[in-house]
Each structure stands twice: as structure tokens, then as C-alpha cells.
Symmetry: C2
Subunit: 199 residues, 2 copies
């Protein structure tokens, strides 16, 4: 029997996806769950809700709370936290690179880029940041960036976002169990893994 | 030394406040934390954000997720769940009754009313539901309802809502530790209690 798979849906602009991405494999392994790393874009989903930017910018009290909660979460996970400027970051280019990668390479790139973005405050729409993340993840830079610019990858990312909407996803990080059960929020990661582990 | 106090801010229209209200004392006691039950109104806060109704109605995907998550939470806490109609409920009259009560009576009324609202699907803006909750909580009905209608209580509830805004509260349930540390969401209850227990 193969391990049950939990799909991990993330947007590189999403703050709470950072601690989730950095601990998900360590939490999944002892439960015998495999992770499918699924980059997508929240922008079109937020736009359809009438939001022109992050809800954390639209609703200041919510935004202040999010940054303070991120401090608490990152302290507990011993992760550095440095809010990037601007916030939210433009995540399109990063999501295309992640989409252009597969398996362990995608996971490694994702973790590296989140560390640069929220651990160092780097701008992930800049080519040099994407290059650094690929390099740190041990991935050949030029072929990955070239593939990220192809129409196939653009289409695949668009399809992934449509798929996310169809699955009922409205925020990130989100987790989908083998039966379609949806969990939203980094604090629900362990519950999602427990649910998936039963399959 | 007296026990540290965690303030529990709730609105009777808030679904997630129901499981929080029903387990907060049991979670607080072993940690040596006392609970201050603080009814307030989310309506003015949501209105200031441009929301005319619950975000769970404004954003259908979020609403579907909330009801499914409520099923999971209530199952884990062995609580019945019956969504009231209309949703959200009008919580003004209920909040005034809770404000008119003090200490253990306020807590008992709150728990009883949440059970009627989300366990049985009763309409909490109806006098007979408020009477039932008071009665079940062992509180004399007529004096409580009379006090709830006084200008003092109306003013106190308005002041509580202003206080909540000043504390950075933007949703319910919210928890405030002795140092002002804010936790939002029923899933953050245990973390808030742990934080408060250190004082």
C-alpha cells in the first residue's frame, strides 16, 4: 500500500504558509503521510471577492494580529521573521518556478524561497531571489527559469488555481485529504495530517 | 496571589464562540486561570469594515468551510450542532442580557444560550429563548430581563464593544491575557490559556 497523500496548497504571498511549509514534512513523516506540494495563486480568488490586496492590509486590526501571531509561531518553530516590503509580495513569478519543478525539487525550492521571503525579507518577484532559492535548493538555475516562462507552465498554474477554487479553497495554506476534506490555516496542519493518515 | 485572568470576548452571533464557551472553564481550571466573560457586539466592527452581514455569508467558500469545520469541532467536543435560521442571529438582546448578569450567572447564561442557539437551532432574538436560557442557568428571569432593558446596560454593552476595538479585537472568540496579548479563534484558546497561566 502506498502512503496516503495530503495536498498542501500554498501561495508564496501567504505569511502563514511559511511556517507550514517549513514543518510539514517533519509532521507528515511520523504519520506515514506523503505531501503533494501544490502552488497556486490567491490573487484571482481574492479579486473575485472584491479584494484588491491582502485582507491583512484591508483590515488593519487583522493585519496587526497576523504579524504578532506570526512572531509567536515563528518563535515556537525557531524560524526567523522579517516582513518583506512590499507586503504582500507579487508571487506570480515564484509560483511559476515552483510549478516548473517537480517532487522533491519543488518542495526544496518552496522552503528556500519562503526562508528568503519571510526569514530575510527578500523580494521574491526579483530574479536574483528566485535564483538564490533555486541555487540553495540544489537545482540548476537556468533550465528551471526557462521552463517557468513557457506557456505550458503558465497554463498549468492557471489550471491549479482553478482546481483550488473547485476544491473549495479560499485561503492559504490549505490542506486537502484523500477524500477531499479541506483544512484551512497553518494551525490546522496537524489535524489535516491526522485525518489523511486514516486513508 | 490571585489567579491570572484571561478575558473571553464573545458575540452570540459567532459560531466558533459556541465550542469555546462550552470548554473554556474546563481548560482554564487545571491551568489555574480565571475567566472573565466579556460579551460584546461584532456588528459595529464588521460594519466599519464595510461588511453588511457575516463574512461567512459574504464569502460562500469561507462559509461552507466554517460549517464543515464546526461539524468537526463539535463532534470532537461531543456537542450537538444545528445551524440557526437566520444566520447570523441578531445578538443585541442576548448580549444585553449577558451584560446585565455578573460572574457565574453570566457564564451559565452564556453557555445555556449558545446550546439553544447552535445545539438546537433556536432563535436567540426571541424572548422565549432568552427566558429558557436564564431559567436553565438557574437565574430569576424577570429581574434579569428588566435590567437588560435599562440605559445603564445598553451603555455598558456599547462601552464593552468600544473597549474590544481598543484592544485590537476584530473577530470572535478573542482572548486577552493579563499583559494585553491577543489570541483570536477558538482553536487558539489553549494557547491563550497557556500564555495567561504564566502571570
Amino acid at each position: 500500500m502506498s502512503a496516503p497523500v495530503l495536498s498542501f496548497w500554498y501561495d508564496f504571498a501567504s505569511t502563514y504558509s511559511y511556517p507550514a511549509a517549513l514543518r510539514i514534512e517533519a509532521e507528515a513523516a511520523p504519520r506515514g503521510v506523503s505531501i503533494a506540494w501544490r502552488p497556486f495563486l490567491l490573487g484571482p480568488i481574492f479579486a473575485a471577492q472584491g479584494w484588491s490586496t491582502s485582507p491583512f492590509n484591508l483590515y488593519p486590526a487583522k493585519g496587526r494580529y497576523m504579524w504578532r501571531e506570526m512572531e509567536r509561531i515563528c518563535e515556537a518553530q525557531k524560524l526567523p521573521l522579517a516582513p518583506p516590503d512590499p507586503f504582500p509580495q507579487h508571487s506570480l513569478a515564484a509560483a511559476r518556478v515552483a510549478t516548473a519543478l517537480e517532487g522533491a525539487a519543488r518542495a526544496a525550492f518552496t522552503r528556500a524561497l519562503y526562508r528568503l521571503e519571510f526569514g530575510l525579507g527578500r523580494n521574491i518577484s526579483e530574479q536574483e531571489t528566485l535564483e538564490a532559492a533555486l541555487s540553495v535548493a540544489g537545482i540548476e538555475v537556468a533550465p528551471a527559469l526557462a521552463r517557468a516562462r513557457t506557456q505550458d507552465i503558465k497554463d498549468a498554474l492557471r489550471a491549479a488555481t482553478e482546481e483550488a477554487i473547485g476544491l473549495g479553497i479560499f485561503g492559504a495554506p490549505s490542506f486537502i485529504a484523500p477524500d477531499g476534506e479541506l483544512y484551512w490555516g497553518q494551525d490546522r496542519l496537524e489535524a489535516a495530517l491526522d485525518w489523511a493518515a486514516a486513508f
